[in-house]
Structures are given as C-alpha cells and as structure tokens.
C-alpha cells in the first residue's frame, strides 16, 4: 500500500482540555490505561496496510516525537515504509508556524510530492475508533472522486459542533455524493458529521491548497477548503457506522475512557488490536500488576507496574499507579506513576503523571458547582490534578476543581477547597 500517503494531523492543542494539554498536544494525551490517543489512528493505519505516514505537529511536540519514534512499534520501518514527523520549519522567505490544518499540509507539499503517492489520506490523530481504511479507499477509487470524506450520522441538533454534510443516496449505506457542507452551523438539517478522514487525489490537493494559500489568516480544511471546493470538484461521502470516541472536551475524554469498562465494553480493545510504543514511559520494563490481599477491584482496568492494595471502582489506572491500603478510587483516570496513599478517597478525578496524593486526602467532595474560572470546561463534577502535583495529607478538595501542575504540598494554604476552585 505504498501508493497511499497518510498525513496525521496531530499538532493541535485544545484549551478545552485545560492542564492536561499544557505540556503535550491532544494526540499525545494518555488514554485507556496504556495508550496515547494517536495510537488508535496509527494502529488503524498499520492494520490497513498503509505504510507511509507523515505526522504533522507543532504544539509541544516533544512527547509526540518520543512516542512515535521511528514508527517501529506500528511496523512503519522498512525499505518502502516510513513514519516521518513533520514539524514547522524555516523557509528561505522566513519561518512559519502551521496556521491551521490546511496550512500545515500546504507547508509540507514538497514532502508529499517526493513520495509520489497515488492517494493522500489526511486524518486527525485525536479520535478513538477502529477503522479499516481500505474499503473507503476502494470506494474513492471506484468513484474516481477528487475527494472522499468519511462521515458518521448524528442527530441534526448536534450539528453546531461538527462539520456537517448532506450526502445523496447514490450508493445507499456505503456513501454517496456530497451535495452540501457546512462547518459548525448554528442550525442545519444535515445529518452527517465529518470524521476528519479525507482521501484526496494529490493533484487536487495541491491545487486547492495553493489557491487557498493566497489569502491571509488561518486555513482549515473544514472551515475554508471544503466549502470552497463544493460544486467545483467531485466529492463523495463515505459512511462509517462503528464506535467513535471524541476527546475534545474533558467530559468527552472521560466518557470515552469509561467506554472501555462494563460487562460489554463499547470499545472492544482486544478486537481492535491497538499498539503503542512500549518503550515510552518504560511500559515494557514494568512487572505485571500486583494486587494485594485486601484489594477490592471492580469494573476497572490497569496495566503492568500497578500495585493495588485499596479499593478501585470504575477507574482506569495507567502503569505504575499505586493505590495503598484503605484508599478508595472511584470513577477516575490516573496517569502513569501517580500514587494514592492510605485512607485517600477520590471521586471523578483525572490525575496526570506523577501526582502524589498523601494520606487521608479527599477529592471530589461537596456540591457540584462549576469551576469559577472555566465554567464551560468543568461543570460535570470532574476534578483535574496537573502533572507532578502533591496534595498534602488531610486536604479536602471539592468537585470541578483544577490543581496546577507541579504544585508542591507547601503551596496549599488551606486544607479545604470548595468545589469550583482553581489552585495555582
């Protein structure tokens, strides 16, 4: 499949994810107990036999560079295979940050040319889903389309959060011609939401991006490129009806993680065969999880390096998380090497790497008052604890709170913070 070049849009930082994306792009966000979000898309590419991948990134790329490496964990290493990180660079006319998704691809047209692809697959690196891209590629070829876009059906009322389209009935459940497209419309009757998976004929891609580059400001595929192509090019919609997990907001991110749990998880990870970089964060160097004699674990997942002596319910534990005796963790997501000491009780909390929660701390208590500074981000009762923060013994923290990264125990002036507080 070397004639398909995949470009993964992995650069975005989204303010909606608050402290979780202070030090990493959204695509490098830990997910599901051992993965990074981008693993889903890279594994899909691997299983689809797409062997040539460019990854476009510019926001705090370090953790992404570390994670992707040379792509060997997804089998992208070989004579005709490769994974290349495409970071913004200097040009003879100056240097340019990527100014939107379409601009990022535009700035790498030279790279794309050199690969001589027959088809360019552009996709977003921050979705959680399983898809074989080959049937969509077949459809794209069969239709001799200039552009084929993947869509999922939605309730028309949700349209303002998506790029939405109308697709005719040319090929029934498979897809049809895209007859209209609107980016995040306030109101519309369109029932098909774009999943940001595009198959372009390379010539068409070059042409539309070069035309678009003449204007100023940011250039996005959904907002700028697609509407301008409507009516001028042969655009098809390909219909996808599998599971689709978003990670754009904290609530979405939390819910998508929770979809891994339950008697019949919505995300059947075993079938998806998602791969990750086992060298990153010492994943492969850790011994299997140790469960203590008094542990109580229900409806939760965990990986190598975990030590669980307390109670864990409806939670996702990343490698190296320790839950000590008498501690209780419910409805929470704990990133790598976070330690929950004895007698702690935490509810609906997302704790980043290396957080230390000392004896007897309570997190997620009291009324659900929205976060005072970021009411739109944090209002459903989740509390966020930034990377490396230390919560001192006996601390009580309400719901919808944010603890800034690297806060030391001595930073806390009080031992009770009510719901909605941001501690920096």
């Amino acid at each position: 499949m070397k004639r398909v070049l995949a470009l993964v849009l992995a650069g975005g930082r989204v303010d909606e994810l608050s402290v979780l994306t202070l030090s990493r792009p959204k695509s490098a966000l830990p997910f599901g107990g051992m993965y990074r979000v981008i693993d889903f898309c890279l594994s899909n590419l691997m299983h689809s036999g797409v062997e040539n991948v460019g990854i476009l990134s510019q926001y705090r790329s370090f953790s992404l560079i570390n994670h992707v490496g040379i792509g060997s964990w997804w089998d992208f290493v070989g004579r005709d295979r490769g994974a290349t990180l495409l970071l913004p660079s200097q040009h003879h006319k100056g240097s340019d940050w990527y100014n939107g998704t379409a601009d990022a691809v535009f700035q790498n047209l030279e790279f794309i040319h050199e690969q001589h692809p027959e088809t360019v697959l552009i996709l977003s690196g921050d979705h959680v889903y399983k898809m074989n891209y080959l049937p969509m590629l077949d459809y794209h070829r069969k239709k001799d389309a200039d552009l084929t876009i993947c869509f999922a059906s939605i309730d028309a009322k949700q349209g303002q959060r998506f790029g939405v389209a109308e697709i005719d009935d040319e090929d029934g459940a498979t897809g049809g011609r895209m007859v209209d497209y609107l980016e995040k419309p306030a109101r519309s009757s369109h029932r098909w939401a774009s999943l940001t998976i595009f198959l372009f004929k390379p010539d068409v891609l070059y042409k539309v991006l070069t035309e678009r580059s003449l204007g100023g400001g940011t250039r996005e595929f959904g907002r700028d490129v697609l509407p301008a192509m409507l009516g001028k090019y042969k655009i098809y919609g390909y219909k996808f009806d599998g599971y689709w997990g978003y990670t754009r907001t904290l609530d979405e991110y939390w819910q998508t993680n929770m979809d891994l749990l339950g008697e019949e998880p919505k995300i059947p990870l075993q079938e998806w065969q998602v791969r990750t970089n086992l060298d990153h964060d010492r994943l492969r160097d850790r011994p299997p999880a140790k469960i203590g004699g008094n542990a109580r674990i229900a409806n939760s997942c965990f990986y190598n390096g975990c030590e669980i002596e307390g109670e864990v319910q409806n939670s996702i534990l990343f490698p190296g998380v320790k839950v000590r005796k008498g501690a209780s963790v419910r409805d929470s997501i704990l990133f790598f090497d976070t330690v929950i000491e004895e007698g702690v009780s935490i509810d609906r909390t997302i704790a980043d790497f290396d957080v230390r929660v000392e004896n007897g701390v309570q997190v997620g208590v009291g009324d659900s008052v929205a976060n005072r500074e970021y009411p739109n981000l944090l209002h459903s009762g989740l509390t966020l604890i930034g990377k490396g923060a230390q919560l001192p013994a006996g601390l009580e923290l309400g719901k919808n709170c944010i603890v800034a990264p690297e806060l030391k125990a001595t930073h806390f002036e009080r031992n009770h913070y009510e719901s909605g507080t941001t501690i920096t």
Partner: protein
C-alpha cells in the same frame, strides 16, 4: 577487546518439570506472568554492565531463540555489544552434541577466541536469582584467581544435589565434593564460573573431560587458584514442579525476597506472546482479584486469589482460580474451580469443571517423584471438558481433547495422555 564474555548455558532439559518442559528448554519455561526463567540471568548480565553474550542452546531451542532474538531487550545491541545463539555444530564427528558444561565451552573455543576477552563468565539459565556479576568479577580480580565460583550456603539435607566446596579462611577452595552422599561442608556451587580466558582455554585443550563440576574444578584445586565467591540472597532452582510453583507463589509474599521491580527484570515483549498487542487487564463489575499478579490482556469476570496470571488469561463469570499459575491465553470456563494448578498456555477449562479436588496424599502414580505435592498440571492447549472433576497430583498431557478422557471424574494421581500418542 571485551574484558568479560558471558557464556550462558541454556540447553537444559527440564525433565523433572514433566510436561512443562516437554516442548521447551527449561530456561524458556514461563515464569511470573510475563517472564521466562532465562530472563533472570539475562537481566543480571545487563544490570551488571556486561555487553557480550553467547547463549548455548541444545534442547528444543526454538522458543528460546525467539525469545532472545537480537538481545535488544537486554541492551545487547550496539557497536561493541552482541548476543549470539550458539547451537551445537557438526564438527569432526558427524554430530557433536554438547556432552557437558566443559564440552560445550570446548566446542565454542573459536567463538571465545574471536571475542578475545580477558575472562569468561559462565552462567546457566535455569535459576531464579539476582546477582551482581560485577562484584563477582571484582572479587576474582582482587584474589588474582584463575577460577572463581559463585557459591552459597545450602541446607545440609540438600548438599547431595550440589558440587560442594571446602574453603580456607581466604575463600580459596581447597577441596571439592561433587554431589556427595555425606558432605563435609554446605557451601554449594551455583554453576557460576569466572575463568581467566588463557587459563580456561588451556584447561579445555589439555583435558578431555566434559564437565566443570565433575572434572575440571576438582583437578584444578591442587595447583591453581580457585576461589569461592560467597552469594547471599534469594536463589531458587525451579527444576521441579513443586519448586516452580512455590517460586511463583513467592511473588505474592513480600518477605520472600523475590522482587521483580527492584531487580530490574527485563523480558522480550515482542515474541510469541506479543505483549505489544495486549491491552490493559480488566476486572469486570462482578469480578474480584486478591493477592495476585495479573498481566496485560487478562479479563477477569470471576474470582482470582493467590494466583499468577500470564497475559491474555480469561476467567469467566463465577469461575474461581486459587493458588494457581495460569499461562498465556488459558480460558477458565464459567463456574469452574481451579485450585493449586499449573496450567500451560492455551489450556481450556470447560464450564463447571473442577481441577484439584480430593486428597493430596496420593502422588502421581506414573511419576511420583515429579508430582506429589497436590498440584494439578495441564500441558499446553489441553482441554478439560465441561463438568469434569480432576483429582490432585494429576498430569494432563498437552492438547488433550474431550475424547481422551476415560471418564468425567478423574481420581487423584492419574495421568491422562492423548490416545494414540506417547508424547
């Protein structure tokens, strides 16, 4: 030039491990969820800063060769690093199988010379322990020894299984008893030798004997400097089913001294088991786990206690697994009971089956020396049909099918073979 070359003897036939060792060499037997026994020696070598290793294989080497691969998991890759598999070769004789430890070295003299090390560290891949070989090498240098042997104090009743050294106050070995009936000392050889290369090559060339413990070492005592390096700490020869099971259980006991994380134990995650494709372990709303080691890919819908689960084990609803070692991708059927078992890879326990019932007093009738402690052992891929009861000290051969069972209630001490096969 490389100061120390490691030669790892990994040929061992684990015959007393019975069906666990039937299709793999003893060093390749899985241990502790995600590891194999040889990982302890390989990780010790890595953690001691050793970078070049030859692995001598002989018996059923395939899973071992897969496992070692390029040696990358133990950092044996690089300009001056390397891991080489050294199988027996056709030499002057038609087929020169390794006839003993010294013979195995003799057949690889060319490999040793091509590496031109100052000294050769000879290890075996059969044991569970952590040792800093750098300290042994420093001891060897300090004593200006020709040979140094890693030795430890063992209970007197076990001395008959070991080479026993009698030392002077400076740890020089002055006398040697190989597997004595009545020992004069309880300082036992761990099969770990450091030889100065020149001395080793001269000894191998000037003698025709095949074994270090039986011949080469006793003969060296009179004229040469042979020293005993004292080792203290956790060390287990998991050569029997009972010892293998107990060492696995030691992982659940903090006071046992077996601590994989602290030992920086490493394994190859990309071989057969493909840990790389394994998801996190999951416990469903109805599942429970206590005092156990759980590997990635496990799905626990039933109850697990005091057990070691390798990757991909599925414990179905209301099944109970207690005091057992369960290897990769075994399936424990709904409502079944598994107690004190060693289940090899891909074993399938049918719904409502019971393994480990009745008295442990009757040893296995065919192999009483292999199995008398009450364990049930099921070989790779064996099926235990729905509702069957299996008594203790029973051996179930690999790849058993339902039709291989003479009845559904197997009393203690039985051995069930595949009909028409003498595996």
């Amino acid at each position: 030039m490389n100061p120390t070359l490691v030669m790892l003897l990994a040929g061992g036939v684990g015959s007393r491990l019975n069906i666990m060792g039937a299709h793999r060499a003893k060093p390749a037997v899985p241990f502790g969820g995600v590891y194999r026994i040889i990982d302890f020696t390989l990780s010790n070598a890595m953690n001691s800063g050793l970078t070049t290793i030859g692995v001598l294989t002989q018996y059923k080497p395939l899973s071992l060769m897969d496992h070692i691969g390029t040696g990358e998991p133990w950092d044996f890759i690089g300009r001056t690093r390397g891991a080489k598999i050294l199988p027996p070769r056709t030499g002057q004789m038609d087929s020169d199988w390794y006839k003993g430890t010294a013979d195995a070295m003799r057949q690889n003299i060319d490999f040793i010379e091509s590496n031109a090390p100052e000294r050769v560290l000879i290890l075996s891949g059969d044991h569970i322990y952590r040792m800093d070989y750098a300290a042994l090498i420093a001891f060897h240098t300090e004593k200006r020894a020709d040979v140094s042997i890693g030795m430890m104090t063992v209970p007197w009743e076990e001395t008959q299984h070991f080479g026993i050294g009698i030392t002077d106050e400076k740890q020089r070995i002055v006398d040697w008893e190989e597997k004595p009936e009545k020992a004069r000392n309880n300082l036992a050889s761990m099969g770990i030798y450091v030889f100065n290369t020149d001395y080793l090559l001269q000894a191998l060339r000037s003698q025709k004997e095949h074994d270090f413990g039986m011949h080469i070492i006793p003969a060296a005592l009179k004229n040469d400097r042979v020293y005993a390096y004292p080792f203290k700490g956790y060390w287990r020869d998991v050569g029997t089913l009972k010892a293998y099971w107990e060492a696995n259980m030691d992982l659940l006991d903090e006071s046992s001294g077996l601590n994989l994380d602290a030992w920086r134990l490493r394994t190859n995650v990309e071989e057969e088991g493909l840990l790389g494709d394994r998801k996190p372990a999951i416990v469903t709303p109805a599942g429970t786990v206590k005092n156990s080691v759980i590997s990635p890919g496990c799905v626990i819908k039933g109850h697990v206690e005091n057990s070691i689960l390798s990757p991909g084990v599925v414990v179905e609803a209301s099944a109970t697994v207690t005091a057992s070692v369960v290897m990769h991708d075994a399936i424990i059927g709904a409502g079944s009971r598994v107690d004190q078992c060693i289940l090899d890879k891909l074993v399938q326990v049918g719904a409502d089956a019971q393994l480990g019932v009745g008295s442990a007093d009757l040893p296995n009738r065919d192999k009483p020396k292999h199995l008398s402690s009450g364990l049930v052992v099921a070989g790779k891929g064996a099926l235990i049909p729905t509702g069957h009861k299996i008594g203790r000290n029973t051996i179930l051969y690999p790849w058993l099918k339902a039709e291989d069972y003479p009845k559904s209630d197997i009393p203690p001490g039985e051995t069930i073979r595949k009909s028409g096969s003498d595996y």
